[in-house]
Symmetry: C3
Subunit: 367 residues, 3 copies
């Protein structure tokens, strides 16, 4: 630019700067050069285009999942008597969205009313006399509000009395075999629609080439029925390398992963759901406060005299989480062009001709 200042601005404006190129005419040098060019071409086509697919545009999935569990179980306990469980009983909440829970084990405390009863015995609730109990005290780990009295819990044990839903739940006697063991044979129909908005691509996990009669009796099997959307609970737990009956005792969380990653350059029928299963909660027993998965809920009733009673259920079971993911690739003109351009970038050069021996002047400038 310095040299430009010594000239008229106009002449400067029309100057063109370029690199000087030379052309070497030598079989050895030329061969090496062409080999390098060839390797670049292989890299561009092989790696950039085929492996990395950088010429493809990607999009993330928008998904809708609904689920429906089928099956009935039978329990016979002293609390509830002989009882059949259907989906409205064991599927909580009932909505059937992407997360559903199947009750497998439980501690039932029927006929609770708002009244007073002695606390469950532990270090801080055992008392000798009323003076050990503080009226109105409300321990966050306790079951109610202390009344200030010390009552017989058992013949030999006295505990502070509380105002609470009595009788209190005794949750140490969890059945060692899951009550609703039959749940392993329950099935769930998973309906999943996915959309890749950028490519206006819609697909369901119920593929177009399956018919209704097949869907009425099929069951997912990785080998024989990989596209059947009906899953036996036990099969899913087995695929996650867990034992259903063991998991059913204390409950757990199982992830149902549906992978919709597709390459839209291939015909559409190559794009199908790929299912996998994995236990999501921690099953290692050590350091495990409240292992497994459980929650408490209650059914409320009113007696004829208008008092409220409830049945408290500590529900153990398996929470199934349907997790849909995937990205889709497709050729896009713009990216295809980019790819072509890059190849050009590597293979095209400005050049002049110059013999290896001919090192005088007379270069022709190409542009």
């Amino acid at each position: 630019m310095g040299s430009c200042s010594s000239q008229s601005c106009q002449s400067c404006f029309f100057e063109y700067e370029t690199e000087r190129m030379i052309v070497v005419k030598s079989k050895v040098v030329g061969s090496v050069f062409r080999l390098i060019q060839f390797l670049i071409l292989v890299y561009v086509i092989g790696y950039v285009c085929v492996v990395q697919k950088s010429y493809q545009e990607t999009d993330s999935v928008i998904s809708s999942v609904t689920t429906k569990v089928k099956g009935t179980g039978f329990t016979n306990t002293s609390d509830l008597g002989a009882r059949v469980w259907d989906v409205a009983d064991y599927n909580i909440p009932p909505q059937g969205d992407s997360s559903f829970f199947v009750l497998t084990n439980m501690i039932v405390t029927p006929n609770q009313t708002q009244s007073t009863c002695p606390e469950l015995p532990n270090q801080s609730t055992i008392c000798m006399s009323d003076s050990d109990c503080l009226e109105g005290s409300n321990d966050v780990r306790g079951n109610g509000i202390q009344t200030g009295l010390c009552m017989n819990y058992k013949e030999t044990v006295k505990t502070c009395e509380v105002l609470s839903w009595c009788p209190l739940e005794i949750d140490i006697n969890l059945p060692e075999h899951a009550l609703l063991a039959a749940a392993e044979d329950f099935t769930v129909l998973i309906k999943n629609s996915v959309t890749y908005p950028k490519f206006n691509f819609h697909k369901r996990n119920i593929l177009p080439d399956v018919n209704s009669s097949y869907l009425k009796q099929c069951e997912f099997n990785r080998k024989t029925d990989p596209y059947c959307p009906i899953f036996r609970l036990k099969d899913m737990v087995s695929e996650a390398e867990e034992d259903f009956q063991t998991m059913a005792i204390r409950g757990g969380v199982l992830g149902i992963m549906i992978d919709w990653s597709c390459d839209l350059d291939w015909p559409e029928h190559h794009c199908g759901p790929k299912y996998s299963f994995r236990r999501l909660d921690n099953k290692i027993p050590e350091n495990n406060v409240a292992p497994g998965y459980n929650f408490r809920f209650a059914k409320y009733y009113k007696t004829t005299d208008g008092r409220e009673t409830r049945t408290l259920i500590k529900a153990y079971g398996i929470l199934f989480d349907v997790i849909v993911f995937g990205t889709v690739n497709a050729v896009c003109n713009w990216f295809l062009l980019t790819c072509t351009k890059r190849r050009d970038y590597y293979s095209k050069h400005k050049f002049t001709y110059l013999d290896n021996t001919d090192d005088n002047a007379g270069e022709s400038v190409s542009y």
Copy 2:
């Protein structure tokens, strides 16, 4: 490097290698050169900066959604008699989070108790005598545990008896017109707060310039009230190009998409929610096991003698899913710099001056 080895290392260290440049003085060549430079400049400013906004930094949205449905409906059926439905009745679950369900049609089976009754007739349940029924058998597609007896279902049809919640639900008589047809006039208030943490940007879908009296009577309309956060259910379904009453019969899933993509370089009031609606489940009738959206739930009661009864409801309705997405762009100094740098990269050159005619030689070619 080879030639370097023949010299002292120090002298080698202070060598500087550069490309040789030539300057072509020609109006034609210069004009073409300047034109190319101009096009590059246009590309950098126009495409990279204005269209692609590569100088901007982006952030993804963190969102909180709560919803509240309003409206009452009236049904008059033989099972339930004349009955008014309010939000606590038809909105299940009631929590009002980003996904809410509005009941539009139903099959009600009242006064079920744990007892025995003949199965619904189908290929596997029709029997001639008790020997056709297996005591304790529990078909996953059946309704209970077989007792081993063969009973009259109708005068002409005998089926195996099951222990179950009886009477069994007969779900083939779905009302052809949605019972809660009035649901189309229900409204929902959607409250959505978004945060772009990187830019400390917070905004609600209830914009600061709307007042309470407007919010008490407004209704979303793409043309007249695009920022009213209260939506009539029928309008949303229409926007998704569906017919509410048709969809109400068998239910379905409707996505309410809220797009918060903004360019924070513009004044804040340019950044508002953009609503769109889309049916998420599949409505194509063929190959459609359990088309639409429904689930079963039960209300449990206790009779005066302590026996549990329940009302089973197979609920058909529309599940609304509020999906919030968006990225926000904003100028970032670093990126602005990058952009400037890139322009320099294209317009600045090292160069030497060389007349088009001045073609002396004598350079040594290295390779």
Copy 3:
């Protein structure tokens, strides 16, 4: 290419084009050149490798969250009498997934039945005579279906009668102090397992080095117990810079953010959950239709004569949303290689040797 066409194709194939390079032997120029090379090296190693960590590969988190609230509260109202609330009463829904609600305030309307009663008085419901009321009319903002009668609401006010769940809820008398004020001392155990599938990395928020006895009595405290997974509700609200008792009156939404961003190049025990808390809904009172967070639900009962009654509860409370995020970085050979390659790219040049004095051609070197 043009000059190539005048020669045989084979000879053309073995030509090699390259830029002409010159080597400037000058201590000043060389020093500047080496300085620039040094800066590039510093940039590559310091910025690209150390700051940006571009040699690392990243992965996003897959997470599973379950929660369990503990604590009992006591209320004494005219509607309900003295009453103890446990988790099955105030935690709605009870499932304990990543979003849980704790009831803190409420308006209870007991003993509603399907019957007729005068509407709540407002501009459109106040009437003088039956002719002001339209039988069958169903206002979306009303509470039921008008019967066409004009009835005494109070001695001085007449309103149109509606068929509805009567008596109607009067929701203007929200208690000014949260009924379940004791909720501030409730605790919640959050169990969170994360997986980074690409690196086969699993971890829980209950770290391996904490024991059961610690977990039985600990409470999260940013300074003393940063890894205790048990949180007092009041502490979380305080961390979000809100007052629990104020928030408890009208409810709200609180985000519990768990950040699992980790650098797997460091030993595993450096990778732990980082908790933060933030109010997600809008608390600004102006322009706030239905401020806070509330929803209505009902408990259904049957009277001895088979009529359905319900207790309607307008529940105000805090919705806690556990949001898990994070990316993990780790050294990856391929990226490490990429980084090395880039350094080479900057430091390696083709060059020729040319003394500063050896100015045959007479070009001026610009720098």
